[in-house]
C-alpha cells in the first residue's frame, strides 16, 4: 500500500512556463519530504527538500510547497527549461529515519 502518491503519471509544459507537480501522502508521521529527479539511464538525483516546520522552500527555479493539513506537497519549476524533462519522484520520511517512501513518479516533458 503506497503511502506516497503521485497521481499524474505525466506532464507536458511549454518552455518558459510553470511546471507544477503534485504529491499526496497518507502517513501522518511523515515530517520530511524530498524531490528527486531522474534522467533515463541514470540514477535519481536529489533536487530539493522540506521539513514539516516549513510550508515553503525555494532553491533557484525550484520551489516546494507543503500543506500538512491536506497531506499534500507540490513542486513548482519556474521557468521550465528543456533540461528539466525527466521523471520526478516525491519521497517522504520521518526525521531521523533512514528509510524513504517514494511515489510512482511524474514524467515531465518540456516542449520548445
Amino acid at each position: 500500500d503506497q503511502q506516497v502518491k503521485q497521481n499524474s503519471p505525466s506532464l507536458s509544459v511549454q518552455e518558459g512556463r510553470i511546471s507544477i507537480l503534485n504529491c499526496d501522502y497518507t502517513n501522518s508521521m511523515f515530517d520530511y519530504f524530498l524531490w528527486y529527479k531522474k534522467y533515463p539511464a541514470e540514477g535519481p538525483t536529489f533536487l530539493i527538500s522540506i521539513s514539516s516546520i516549513k510550508d515553503k522552500n525555494e532553491d533557484g527555479r525550484f520551489t516546494v510547497f507543503l500543506n500538512k493539513s491536506a497531506k499534500h506537497l507540490s513542486l513548482h519549476i519556474v521557468p521550465s527549461q528543456p533540461g528539466d524533462s525527466a521523471v520526478y519522484f516525491c519521497a517522504a520520511t520521518t526525521i531521523g529515519d533512514y528509510k524513504l517512501s517514494f511515489g510512482a513518479g511524474t514524467t515531465v516533458t518540456v516542449r520548445a
Binding site: V4, A41, G43, T45, I95, Y98, K99, L100, F102, A104
Partner: protein, 113 residues
Amino acid sequence: DVKVTQSSRYLVKRTGEKVFLECVQDMDHENMFWYRQDPGLGLRLIYFSYDVKMKEKGDIPEGYSVSREKKERFSLILESASTNQTSMYLCASSWTGINQPQHFGDGTRLSIL
C-alpha cells in the same frame, strides 16, 4: 562528488540462478540501500545497511538477501531468481545524520528468463 557504482548496467539470468548485484560507493557513507524500480510503483526499498555487517529489511525483502563486509560495498543477492524479480535495481548511499540525501547509482536492469 559522490560516486555510487553498480557493477552491471544490464544483466540477464535464468530462473533459479543465484544472482549477485554489486554496489560500491567512494564517499565513506555509513548507510547503503537497495531499491527496485517498477513502472507505476516508484522505488521500493528492499534492504538497507547502516554499518558494516548490519542490515535491516525494507518493504519488500522476500526473495533477497544482502551482504556488507566492507563499508564501501553493499551486495544484493537473489537466492533463487524468479521472473517476478525482473526489474531495475538501484543502489544508494548516504551519511548518517538528520535527513542526509541519498545518492544513487545508475541502476542495473535485470532480466530473469
